[in-house]
């Protein structure tokens, strides 16, 4: 028994992680091509069944695919739908005890918690400042929150589709938001979520309308087992990169993620749409080769991140070397991990979840190795590898626009991408969207620390650095619309300050980049197409893939390296 804690830190289950990557790589081009057909209204699988239904919905909405919106109108439609959604969620949460399905007697939320929660679910963040079991009724989860689980990823996909249409249109319009929303749900989210949920049930996840069962444990007392339509919620939450969990332990809860197999299925659900979106882009612009640089960039970043994460999680935690009776077992960081997931499987879930801006967790992020914490933070700094549904790929396109602009300046030619000229206005919007992210993190972070709102105790360098990381992670996660939390007992984020500041950060981090993406799409859509000249950058190439990866890493690292020195880096150097 030289590995007394079992095979968990044995890397022998690395094979299933590699097989899962291979499956996603094999499926992504085909599924992405389907996505592209859905958003360009080309004949696609399911037309016979779904087209009549969609046409009926369009009639009810009073709209039609032929009524195409310009960027400004598209943006207003996004804000209107999401604004009404936010208001509905706020109303439900602050009155949940008077509304249906409150068998557990969850109390109404305070105004600030209701605002934070409503903003969190509307923006695809799903950062929670509450304990689901005690503070959320089943109606709040099944009716209110689940509505946002559909609408927010559909909004992200619609915005990405609209931005991409800038390259293929010349009439200044970007499509119809209501049509894009409807098709996102009928063609992608609803059918896949149903399949995902049924497979979850077969893997052991509850799916019932019974809210809870009272058990009588064998050593006495009572234990409340919270149930509900968990499988349908989890499936949709991960598929739509929302990341909210039915339980406060999210995908670490054995009810929500009972086996290694359900863990792998969860990873697949999280990867499917974000990893396929580059191929949807290739399909929509009818240049399939242009998808590969984006897919390559995403794959390089995720694989490197996962490798680092596993390596540092497997290394020994020096802070536990002094615990007698543990001996060699102090290797690694098994505190806050679940027994049933092996190290590679558990790590892949966590890295994919944070890099895909899902934000679900199957381990306690606060208990990870400090280097693993930096790896996760970096995924939220780039927020585009692959990033959340639609908006992640949109952000990657913003990085590409900047990269091509910089390359154009270096060779002294007019930068253009796929026949559309990248002018000053486009670059301004791209730079704005990318600069909003660090600003929305670092400004409230500074206010929280300097203003004393975080109310952190002075507990020595290791604990201080950890608490500091926790506050940084909070705003990073909110600005990236991620939703994972690096929690620590000393940092209470349920105060009015963190509710309100967090809600504002999430709304800014969501809708300012969406506005910039639509503006850029609108500008491109007004241009006629330029034929490629001798100075045109060959973007469907390995060179461009590497160049884009480096630009993305350098820009993201420059924004955030200084602040890392205060948190996780101090934990590494000062905590030993």
């Amino acid at each position: 028994m030289d590995r007394p804690w079992g095979t968990t830190f044995d890397l022998s289950s690395l094979w299933d992680v590699i097989v899962l990557f291979a499956i996603v790589i094999a499926i992504a081009p085909f599924f992405g091509s389907y996505l592209g057909k859905v958003y360009s209204n080309r004949p696609a699988f399911g037309d016979t069944l779904l087209t009549p239904i969609e046409n009926a919905v369009y009639r009810l909405l009073g709209t039609s695919p032929r009524r195409s919106m310009r960027a400004r109108e598209y943006m207003w439609a996004v804000l209107l739908v999401n604004g009404v959604l936010l208001g509905f969620l706020y109303f439900w949460f602050t009155f949940q005890s008077s509304l249906p399905y409150d068998a557990t007697g969850a109390p109404p939320m305070s105004w600030s918690l209701g605002f934070h929660s409503a903003a969190s679910f509307t923006t695809n963040t799903d950062f929670t400042h509450f304990t689901n079991e005690a503070q959320m009724s089943m109606g709040s989860e099944m009716i209110a929150w689940q509505l946002a689980l559909f609408v927010s990823p559909a909004t992200g996909l619609a915005v990405a589709a609209a931005m991409i249409r800038g390259w293929i249109r010349k009439d200044g319009t970007l499509g119809n938001f209501y049509v894009d929303l409807t098709r996102s749900i009928t063609r992608i989210l609803l059918p896949l979520a149903i399949v995902g949920a049924l497979l979850y049930v077969l893997m052991g996840v509850p799916e019932t309308l019974t809210n809870f069962v009272t058990a009588h444990p064998i050593t006495g007392g009572t234990q409340i087992l919270y149930l509900g339509p968990v499988a349908s919620f989890q499936s949709l939450s991960l598929l739509g990169t929302n990341g909210g969990g039915w339980y406060s332990a999210n995908a670490a809860s054995p009810l929500a993620n009972p086996t290694a197999l359900s863990n792998l299925w969860s990873i697949f659900l999280m990867m499917l749409i974000p990893f396929s979106t580059p191929f949807a882009f290739g399909q929509m612009i009818r240049k399939r080769g242009e998808a590969w640089p984006y897919f390559g960039t995403i794959l390089i970043v995720v694989v490197v991140a996962l490798t680092l994460f596993i390596a540092f999680q497997a290394a020994s935690n020096p802070a536990l070397a002094t615990v007698p009776g543990l001996g060699v077992q102090t290797n690694g960081y098994p505190v806050g991990q679940e027994v049933r997931f092996s190290l590679p499987e558990g790590s892949m879930f966590q890295v994919v979840s944070v890099y895909g801006n899902v934000g679900a967790n199957n381990m306690d992020i606060g208990a990870l190795s400090p280097v693993a914490q930096i790896v996760l933070l970096f995924g939220m700094f780039t927020q585009s590898t692959p990033g959340g549904e639609g908006t992640g790929f949109g952000t990657l396109l913003l990085f590409a626009i900047l990269a091509i602009f910089i390359a154009g300046l270096m060779v002294g030619r007019t930068p253009e991408y796929l026949g559309k000229k990248i002018g000053t206005a486009e670059v301004k919007y791209a730079a704005l969207a990318l600069l909003v992210h660090p600003a929305a993190i670092l400004i409230p972070f500074g206010v929280a620390i300097v203003g004393g709102f975080a109310n952190l105790p002075n507990a020595g360098i290791p604990a201080n650095a950890h608490n500091f990381t926790s506050v940084l992670y909070e705003f990073t996660s909110e600005s990236a619309n991620n939703g994972s939390a690096l929690s620590t007992a000393a940092f209470n984020d349920t105060t009015v300050f963190f509710n309100v500041a967090g809600a504002i950060v999430m709304l800014v981090g969501r809708f300012v980049p969406i506005w910039a993406m639509l503006q850029i799409g609108g500008l491109f859509s007004k241009q006629s197409e330029m034929p490629p000249g001798p100075g045109t950058l060959q973007t469907a190439s390995v060179t461009f893939t590497i160049y884009l990866t480096l630009i993305l890493i350098i820009i993201s690292a420059l924004f955030f390296l200084p602040v890392l020195a205060l948190g996780p880096l101090a934990q590494i150097t000062g905590g030993i």
């Binding site: 007394p4 804690w5 009716i143 996840v205 058990a215 409340i224 406060s248 199957n362």
Partner: protein
Amino acid sequence: MSSPPPTSSAPVPPPAHSRAGHVRATVVFLVLMVLVSGFAYPFLVVGIAQVIDPYAANGSILHYGNNGTIAGSALVAQNTSAPYLFWERPSPTDYNTTLGAVTPYGPTDPALAALLNETIAYMKAYGDYTVNATLPFWLVSQSASSIDPDLTPEAVLVQIPRVSGNTSLSIPFLQNLVNQHITQPPVPDLGVPYVDVLQLDLALLPLIGR
């Protein structure tokens, strides 16, 4: 800057929808979506789930005793820390699911090592762990969910001397019982072998006449 001339200098066409049109589309869309996402979708999946796997769909509930009392869920740990039972992983919430998951100390926080020391001392005070000089990490560390129902086979086997000492069951008998309750991965190395402690204890109860 001189951008390429737009395709037409014609006046901007009217928007696709009037203001009232936008409001109608938004309201009708969200009402339809509440019906689909809040009712049709979960009800459909619940209906199918209750047919294809009612045990899992209803929470993997386990019963015990002659009356079939609900003992708990195979997927949720509970307090089993009686001397004659196999113990679950420690829980900062005492397995109270209403409290959700509680976060552990940071990895380099000295309080973490102190807590582990305390847990090990508590375990050793309760029983004979001299067979192994060290305790498996999983047995003394808290999980992510605070209700992790599983332990590695090693972390269960190490408890056998204590269980045997507090019951009339022999060590080989208990080893055999534990071995029967090890869940192996469906495919080699897809996941890890583990023991569901509550199921093991429920099998143990009738054997010790409780």
